[in-house]
Chain length 128, copies 2
């Protein structure tokens, strides 16, 4: 935790080999807001249960008890995770009587899962 390389002071206790590059990149970085938001978003994707839920909803709208049976998990655990997915606007829900149906919010969710899968595939390929 030295100092922020702003316009006035770029001299830290940390050695800095490429001052120009650092200054330039610092100017190009998005606001901290956005960084924090991105991390929060990906954190939601970073749990096997939630990924499993998203993969399931990708193929069909499902209610909570369906997901519970499908994932072999307690209804409570599923509900807790659905709450987090809702918070990140990755899923939407609609009520029909006592049953609440969940589905994916939009195509971003699919895209993110796909690009992630691609990366894993190439990763496996590069290990050979």
């Amino acid at each position: 935790m030295a100092c922020q390389p702003d316009d006035q002071d770029l001299f830290c206790d940390v050695p800095m080999i490429h001052e120009e590059a650092v200054r330039r990149v610092f100017g190009l970085l998005p606001r901290e807001n956005r960084t924090e938001g991105l991390a929060e978003l990906f954190k939601v994707f970073g749990d096997p249960t939630r990924v499993r839920i998203l993969q399931s909803l990708r193929h069909s709208e499902l209610c909570v008890c369906d997901l519970s049976a499908l994932l072999a998990m307690s209804q409570s655990a599923v509900s807790h995770q659905l709450r987090i997915l809702r918070g990140a606007r990755l899923v939407r829900n609609r009520r029909e009587g006592r049953v609440i149906y969940y589905s994916l919010m939009d195509d971003h969710v699919k895209t993110i899962l796909d690009v992630g899968s691609e990366h894993l595939a190439e990763e496996a390929e590069s290990k050979r």
Copy 2:
């Protein structure tokens, strides 16, 4: 933790309203391997420091001390995070004397960050 809805037994202690859909989706789900791998991958994106590193490397190859100065963090903390990014094959590194330069591994990293940003943008829009 009831039972897995495999071909032989789909009857759990959890109520299952849409048995057909559940069976169908179960057949379409990827192997657990892949789910776990995806979650592990996104977990790496799920930390502000690591996102910040990736956003930085997106614009320029940088060495550890550059990143340390840029992010105003200790060299140790940055190194620990770089290790995790390397493990997920999100960054590559090359040595030049005592200095080690890091850069993004491939375009998947950029794409994932971009799609995430898009989602956040639309999320903000939908809140209005």
